[in-house]
């Protein structure tokens, strides 16, 4: 028990507004969001940036960054900046989609397992544990190699299908503890349907947690997608940051010293994923306020 409980009742809306205000006052959240927004803008503007596509041969070969080609050109004379902007774009798409799918599956499995309990829980937990110990990346390689990945959406579905187990576990545990709380009992006694209870009572109480989960999945999916792209298992014809690294490496860009080819894609990924993590920490500070003394 703490004595700091607000003594004046606070409405849910006021609380949300307060959290929102605090979030926008948190330097980590701001820094993370600024980086994410800047790169997102670049990705969105990618098709407008120039008249040529990311794989078109437009300039001299292996030219260092210049006023014409901001990030230089590849060994074959492709515009690295255009490739980079397009790569950023598909990075966001895959992160949002795969992260969203993973979060959705994980939450659903976790909610249902935690809420229903019993045999349903046993079965779902078993499935969760199986997928959890399965080395996802190895299985993704097999799937991508045989089934093939023909679009970013397809890739996202594959990645999302293997990233959810830890979410399901955590959500299940939280649902278990929320389930026994008074407000849920009350709703159940008054005959509210289980799905409605999950949506209206349990969901909002875990809202902040689910947002954090989504952000982590977002970042993880980006790394997985880049890894698949790097192995040449990405969607064909789709420029991505992983594919840029693949092509640079295959073309001996390291030995030839074409650093402007292989540095940007990595920096892009580190910036996006890093900014996601920083935002996550900042939001965590806001949601779980604790003036930690050190």
């Amino acid at each position: 028990m703490t004595d700091t409980r607000p003594l004046k009742p606070i409405t849910a809306d006021a609380r949300r507004a307060e959290i929102f205000r605090l979030a926008l006052g948190n330097p980590k959240v701001i820094a993370g969001l600024v980086i994410l927004a800047t790169l997102l803008a670049l990705g969105l503007a990618a098709p407008l940036l120039s008249g040529h596509g990311p794989s078109d041969y437009v300039g001299p070969r292996a030219e260092p960054p210049s006023a014409d080609f901001w990030f230089g050109t590849t060994l074959f004379g492709q515009d690295v900046f255009v490739q980079f902007a397009n790569g950023i774009r598909s990075t966001y798409v895959v992160g949002l989609l795969a992260g969203g799918i993973g979060a959705l599956v994980g939450m659903t499995v976790g909610f249902v397992a935690g809420y229903r309990g019993g045999v349903v829980d046993e079965i779902l937990s078993m499935i969760t544990n199986v997928v959890l110990v399965l080395p996802a990346f190895a299985v993704l390689i097999i799937l991508a190699a045989y089934v093939g990945i023909d679009s970013v959406v397809h890739q996202s579905v594959f990645i999302g299908a293997f990233s959810w187990p830890w979410v399901a576990r955590a959500v299940r545990a939280q649902t278990f503890s929320l389930r026994s709380r008074e407000f849920v009992d009350l709703a159940r006694l008054t005959g509210v349907r289980p799905l409605t209870i999950i949506r209206t009572e349990i969901g909002p109480n875990m809202g902040s947690y689910l947002l954090l989960v989504f952000i982590v999945l977002f970042g993880g999916s980006i790394l997985t997608a880049a890894s698949l792209d790097f192995l040449g298992l990405g969607p064909p014809g789709q420029m991505s940051l992983g594919l840029m690294m693949n092509q640079a490496l295959q073309s001996s860009a390291l030995v030839l010293g074409i650093w402007w080819w292989f540095l940007p894609p990595g920096i892009g990924i580190v910036l996006i994923v890093g900014a996601l993590y920083v935002t996550n920490i900042g939001l965590d500070d806001v949601f779980n306020p604790k003036l930690r003394k050190m």
């Binding site: 078993m126 990346f137 299985v139 190699a145 010293g257 990924i269 580190v270 993590y277």
Partner: protein
């Protein structure tokens, strides 16, 4: 404890069956004849005799003439005999042989990288939890490292320390001019080629462990038993020791959960350094569309990860006194 192992064993057995079944199922239910496709993709048929032999071999291996359930059982039977088929790329070497030749390189990278990063990451993370100045540097560095794709860090290291500085070689498991032998020259070449891939695997993993441990220790320092000890005037030293001991347990579990990711990281790192381990084998198999080799390597990796997981579970029971004391129904 029996219940604990019982449940775990069921999960592992199920996972193993699922993995093998996926591996069996995927090529069989893909449109087209995978054997033919693969052979076509090898380019112009220069040796019709050999091709016929391969075709025949694989058709027999797939056993298209027997019912599906029997094909499935045969697959398991072959697996238990250690028969992963024959590589197309390196025909007629059995996949199992190719895998076993590459295995020492991958283990030589992975084991030191995993163990050292875990050990040092936990140490540094726990230290960061109590020293503000260290925390201020460990935390950002740790987050940057965990946000770094394995292959990119590998590329960075290969380029900076390998090519620009010229200190380390950047390709292969040992000098191209050398033959494996028990000699100083060979050993030092091996070590030089080993260092950069090791370092890049180590660094990314290290960042993750350090951050994890830092957060866990801080969490433990705010736990009830820590507060109670503080209320009884116990010195911070004792409280920190208890917090560390409690925090290390989830890190052991985390080790099991991270294995798949780390193995994935080693695949990528080996590709960058053309390091002759399993990861590079995966890449070569993909390049040469040698699906039998690919399946064999991946299946080997999956089962290896499961076995390692099981070992870690056993270790967990040994290090967590609560399970060691023989309690029932302790969830891990």
């Amino acid at each position: 404890m029996g219940r604990y192992f019982g449940r775990k064993s069921i999960v592992y057995a199920l996972t193993c069956i699922v993995a093998v079944t996926i591996n069996w199922l995927v090529p069989r239910f893909m449109p087209g004849d995978p054997v033919l496709q693969m052979l076509i993709s090898r380019g112009p048929d220069t040796n019709p005799e050999q091709t016929a032999v391969i075709m025949d071999y694989y058709n027999r291996l797939f056993g298209f003439d027997v019912p599906l359930w029997q094909q499935y059982l045969n697959y398991w039977g072959a697996l238990f005999k250690g028969d992963l088929g024959v590589s197309v790329w390196l025909f007629p070497t059995p996949v199992a042989d190719v895998v076993l030749r590459a295995l020492p390189y991958t283990l030589g990278l992975l084991l030191p990288a995993i163990l050292l990063s875990w050990f040092l990451g936990n140490k540094v993370g726990a230290m960061a939890a109590r020293r503000k100045w260290l925390d201020n540097s460990v935390l950002p560095v740790g987050y940057v490292l965990t946000a770094t794709p394995y292959m990119w860090l590998a590329i960075l290291l290969a380029w900076s320390l390998g090519i620009v500085a010229g200190i380390f070689p950047t390709a292969g498991g040992y000098g191209f001019d050398l033959q494996p032998a028990v000699s100083w020259e060979f050993a030092s070449s091996l070590a030089m080629h080993w260092f950069l891939p090791f370092l890049s695997l180590f660094l990314v993993a290290f960042g993750g462990w350090a951050i994890g441990m830092r957060n866990l220790v801080i969490y433990e320092l705010e736990s009830d038993y820590a507060n109670y000890l503080a209320a009884l005037g116990a010195p911070p030293r004792l409280i920190r020791r208890y917090a560390f001991r409690n925090a290390i347990l989830p890190q052991v579990t985390g080790l099991a959960l991270q294995l798949g990711v780390l193995v994935g990281g080693s695949i990528l790192t080996e590709v960058v350094f053309a390091y002759p381990g399993l990861g590079n084998l995966v890449f070569q198999a993909l390049l040469h569309r040698d699906f039998f080799l690919l399946q064999g390597v991946v299946l080997f990796i999956v089962i290896g990860v499961l076995v390692a997981n099981f070992v870690i579970d056993v270790v967990y029971v040994l290090v967590d006194p609560r399970t060691r004391a023989g309690m029932q129904g302790v969830s891990a």
